[in-house]
């Protein structure tokens, strides 16, 4: 952990985080859902102003969804992974589009692929998929093979090769 990063971790101690060191310059901070926005605001004010990625992981065995915000600092080159876990059966969270405008699109994507509702973000139209009629596809209980079998069933047909060859040779009329 670099000096500036450990100083920041000390500042964040009031939020009661679980700190994990992935790498010298990469730290994962797990907090409860109600403290995420405050943690993100603190980090943004201290130089971690670039939202690299916002994503979601489906932990189906724990019945939880993990939201991960990856923040990067252009000044000291460190990365903070701010993570929180929300209930999987009724996933709801707050938007961070005031902090990072581009988060609006990440939230739309997570809504589409994981089914998370973001309060305050009213633009939740599908972004990538068209006419989707199943559960959100990046959830672990969605099986793409079953879906495509159901949606596009195998066609019943038997090819009569000998008849085709005869037509081709001109022996019979097709």
């Amino acid at each position: 952990m670099t000096n500036s990063m450990s100083n920041l971790v000390k500042i964040l101690e009031s939020f009661n985080p679980f700190v994990e060191e992935i790498d010298e310059k990469e730290i994962k901070i797990t907090v409860s859902p109600d403290k995420v926005v405050a943690v993100l605001e603190t980090l943004k004010a201290n130089g971690y102003s670039h939202l690299s990625l916002m994503t979601c992981v489906d932990w189906i065995d724990d019945n939880q969804l993990e939201l991960v915000y990856i923040l990067f600092s252009w000044e000291d080159g460190g990365k903070f992974l701010v993570s929180t876990r929300i209930d999987r059966s009724n996933p709801k969270f707050v938007t961070v589009k005031e902090l990072w405008p581009v988060a609006r699109f990440y939230e739309r994507e997570i809504h589409e692929f994981f089914g998370v509702e973001f309060e305050g973000n009213d633009d939740m139209k599908p972004l990538f998929l068209e006419l989707w009629d199943e559960r959100p596809p990046l959830r672990k209980d969605f099986d793409p093979r079953d879906y495509s079998r159901k949606k596009f069933p195998d066609r019943e047909y038997e090819k009569d090769v000998i008849k085709e060859a005869k037509i081709f040779r001109g022996e019979i009329n097709g």
């Binding site: 790498d23 690299s52 992981v57 489906d58 252009w74 080159g77 990538f128 998929l129 990046l138």
Partner: protein
């Protein structure tokens, strides 16, 4: 004058892949713009969860078509970070050479490709022809021209032979000798100046607020390059500069890409000189055959500087022989979605393809 709805794309010569923008125009001026991605959505993130760690190498170069090597590099580095795997030193230097060659190939195509949307049709021919010389190197190295699948978990697939090293030296000399011609043909051309100078200006505050990386950000005067700020591989052991500009317009963005080519050549030459000799270029992540290899539990985010900006992979492992989750940060996600909605209104119709070309909006990496 009434408002008319126009469709840009899904097919257009000025961009990579299929991407659509719905424009509401009055006369020639765009009043509102709405990005419509999804034409190239192939579900890579789901597909990766269903394949073995090693078989994913064959799948992921397809995420970004013009510059495929960054995907393999990011994924491999992410897995190595979780598994705490030491990669042989020679393999890391070879990775650096491959990534810089890919950057030159992509920049040549971008510098040439700007001829498409502005109507300077010699440039694409030159760019594509010189890029082919680099694809020849890749063919000799990996057997494939576009999707190399050369960087694997734990190193690279094959060693760099003296014949290929010689080929790289010669090609670098050739491309360096071509650069003055490019300068004369493209960057002193009046068409390019009148179409790009002072157009589509992005200020530093706007770029940082939007989360733009790469040349779009460096054209506003900041030296923010992941290779310098958060060095990976051996970028801290080579000497190179990060070109910047202060105008923030479309011209300086294209010109910066051109100015990065000599820096990449410089890095490749240093890497070829500093690289240790040896045969060991890869190590397995665990014992057993490639399909049974497992990666310990953990998660990591790895990002590298692609030709278009920060490109990252977020990899999660649950200790099995397949990835639990892989998320991709496409470098053009901010400017391709938020940027179009926010900064295109007020510009003219003919500027829309210039935004997509100079900000490097790459549809396949947005859609995945």
């Amino acid at each position: 004058m009434g408002e008319v709805k126009l469709f840009f794309g899904p097919n257009h010569p000025g961009m990579h892949g299929n991407f659509s923008v719905h424009m509401y125009v009055e006369g020639d001026v765009v009043k509102r713009a709405r990005p419509l991605p999804g034409f190239l959505h192939r579900g890579f993130e789901k597909l990766m969860e269903r394949r073995y760690w090693y078989s994913n190498i064959a799948l992921i170069p397809r995420i970004c078509v013009p510059e495929p090597d960054i995907n393999e590099a990011c994924y491999a580095m992410g897995v190595e970070k979780i598994a705490k795997l030491e990669v042989p030193e020679r393999a890391q230097w070879i990775r650096m050479i491959v990534l810089e060659l890919a950057r030159i190939a992509n920049h040549l195509m971008a510098v040439g490709g700007i001829g498409g949307p502005i109507g300077l049709y010699t440039a694409p021919q030159w760019g594509t022809a010189d890029r082919d010389r680099i694809l020849d190197i890749f063919e000799a190295l990996s057997g494939a021209r576009v999707y190399h699948m050369y960087i694997v978990i734990g190193g690279v697939r094959k060693n760099l032979t003296p014949r290929i090293e010689d080929m790289i030296w010669k090609t670098m000399d050739y491309i360096e000798s071509r650069l003055p011609d490019y300068e004369n043909l493209i960057f002193k051309n009046r068409i390019l100046h009148s179409r790009l100078k002072g157009r589509l200006i992005l200020t530093r505050e706007q770029a940082l607020e939007m989360g733009v990386t790469g040349v779009g950000l460096r054209a506003t005067g900041v030296e923010y390059d992941v290779r310098k700020v958060d060095p990976y591989l051996f970028y801290d052991k080579v000497d190179f500069e990060v070109p910047t500009a202060t105008d923030g317009d479309a011209f300086s963005r294209v010109y910066l890409k051109f100015k990065e080519i000599p820096q990449s050549i410089k890095i490749i030459r240093q890497a070829l000189e500093k690289m240790p000799q040896g045969d060991k270029v890869n190590v397995p992540v665990s014992k057993g055959s490639a399909l049974r290899r497992i990666v310990p539990k953990g998660m990591a985010y790895v990002h590298i500087e692609s030709a278009r900006g920060e490109y990252g992979f977020f990899v999660v492992s649950d200790g099995k022989n397949k990835p639990y989750r892989v998320a991709v940060r496409g470098a053009s996600y901010p400017q391709g979605l938020y940027g179009i909605e926010k900064y295109l209104p007020g510009t003219r119709i003919e500027d829309v393809p210039i935004w997509l070309a100079t900000m490097d909006v790459c549809a396949p990496e947005i859609d995945r």
